[in-house]
Symmetry: C2
Subunit: 320 residues, 2 copies
């Protein structure tokens, strides 16, 4: 019998407030699941992808989990291969780091199967290899928190350095995913093709620095004030029907801060209390319906302290 493991990798909120490409957090839910087992045949085989509505590729070179898995095999100089079953349990192109979670799941699963030859930071790098194939650019504010859990700051890409930040105990997050699509590559083009004046840059630097101070101080009102993005949000808000109404609804309902999750269309809001976060999320969903006629999903929870992890071992039913 071959040992098969099941890994859960959390969804994430990247581009957190003023921290475009540098700040992200892991959500307690949703997330992706991936089953994996070693194989005597070298390389990566993707046996099955479920929950994707037929949108994802089973070619391991064109699937983010497959590429991340392959990169771990390469870094670990593994002679064996892996077989993967990817179970998408979160919406694609939602702003919640769907490809990042699949990448994280692929990298963590293979590292586990091989007996953890790679340090966590190398697992993040392998997951970035998967994410790169989805987005075309190497960014880690989704994959790093999906691998590491918690709230993660990316100091530098060359060389790569990621820093785990403290998570205030009472922090709760409401994330609303409206049923509309924003193309990640279009959302990136929109902000990459421009240049920005210091009048916009200085407040973002000040607020990103403040966000970190607020986490260390455990000061949630200060954290809320730091969710103030002058650079990206005004541009990407135009891609999200009803954005202004939904943000106003969140803040009117007492949210400490509110902005776009990842490249959208999901919107997140912060609170210091679970019931309040639920109420804020309800108000955001109502605003999406009223302002834009959009149905939506709501996720309410804390930051996940854990990143991608084994959730269940199962004996493989497939003969070698």
């Amino acid at each position: 019998m071959n040992r098969r493991i099941r890994v859960f990798a959390p969804a994430t909120v990247a581009n957190l407030g003023p921290g475009f490409d540098v700040l992200g957090l892991a959500l307690s839910r949703p997330g992706d699941e991936l089953e994996a087992e070693l194989s005597d045949r070298p390389g990566v085989e993707i046996v099955e992808v479920t929950g994707d509505g037929g949108q994802l590729n089973c070619d391991p070179h064109r699937n983010v989990a497959g590429r991340a898995a392959g990169d771990v095999l390469r870094r670990a100089n593994a002679r064996q291969g892996v077989r993967l079953w990817l179970h998408k349990q979160m919406p694609l192109a939602s702003g919640l780091g769907s490809s990042g979670a699949s990448s994280a799941a692929g990298a963590v699963a293979v590292n586990e199967l091989l007996g953890r030859p790679l340090a966590q930071m190398d697992v993040v790098l392998s997951a970035m290899e998967g994410e790169r194939s989805a987005s075309g650019t190497p960014h880690a504010d989704n994959v790093a928190p999906s691998v590491m859990g918690g709230i993660v700051l990316i100091r530098s890409y060359e060389p790569f350095e990621a820093i785990a930040l403290p998570v205030p105990e009472r922090l709760h997050i409401a994330v609303v995913h409206p049923h509309c699509k924003v193309s990640t590559s279009e959302a990136r083009r929109l902000v990459k093709e421009r240049t920005y004046s210091l009048d916009l840059i200085v407040p973002n630097i000040g607020n990103a620095a403040t966000l970190v101070a607020a986490l260390y101080r455990g000061d949630l009102p200060l954290l809320g004030r730091s969710i103030d993005d002058r650079i990206i949000e005004p541009l990407r808000a135009t891609l999200i029907p009803g954005f202004a109404s939904v943000k106003a609804a969140a803040l009117d309902c007492g949210a400490l801060g509110c902005s776009i999750a990842g490249s959208g269309p999901s919107i997140f809001a912060l609170s210091d209390d679970h019931a309040a976060a639920q109420k804020i999320g309800d108000a955001m969903q109502a605003a999406f319906r009223t302002a834009a006629g959009l149905a939506s999903d709501l996720y309410v929870g804390k930051v996940s302290a854990d990143g991608a992890r084994v959730v269940e071992h199962a004996a493989s039913s497939i003969a070698r």
Copy 2:
């Protein structure tokens, strides 16, 4: 007899690394001194300015200390006036916050004489009024640390919010002031007239956020790595003869990080040890001489935990 006080206000390093307009620290030395006493005649009288080589104006409306002092009188609804004696003890237009220190001294002195009617944050705002008259734009990363001491983060200017950050115990700073001039307004024009791409902005946001994390962690190597400014330093370095050689000398000598102080021409370097900071400063002075034929002053010390403060009481010899 009228009570006369003497206030010392520390020089500062503003635009700290990646934190243009948002991060600054107070130096233990140099600094400005200001004597002040209340007067029955309303408004501000500047009796004397020494140490300025005749460059500063004694008109209280055209002198930063005078304007800051006047702003405290206004905020406190004082019926009395003040007389000021300003003793410049640091170079003008050096990048060490000379006008910010004079502004801080003026504001703090008057607030002391009046029995501290204003909270510290209002004293900072009054000092900003002084600084504004020197630079034309309201920025606080000089005046806030000169008033408050320590390392200060400016989250926002509208509304104004400044945050005191922790100062690692072993942090030492070498600042070298070469004997050449950089106009603050020219240095600002150079960076304000342009716009910047995300390729430059993202690393600065990541490093400014990291700088804060490093202070809370007391991680000096991480603090050093965060002194990485892609936006401002490359432009302003062109205004400082020998900059590249001086920075290379500092880093070769073991500096944790090195960049321009304020708008230059002074250059600062960080170290975790006093003797090492002295050696780094010596190497920077030698590099200024060799690379640009410039003499310089060197200041070595810790971050000043104290901001502008009364250092000596003296009975006035001037009759009311």
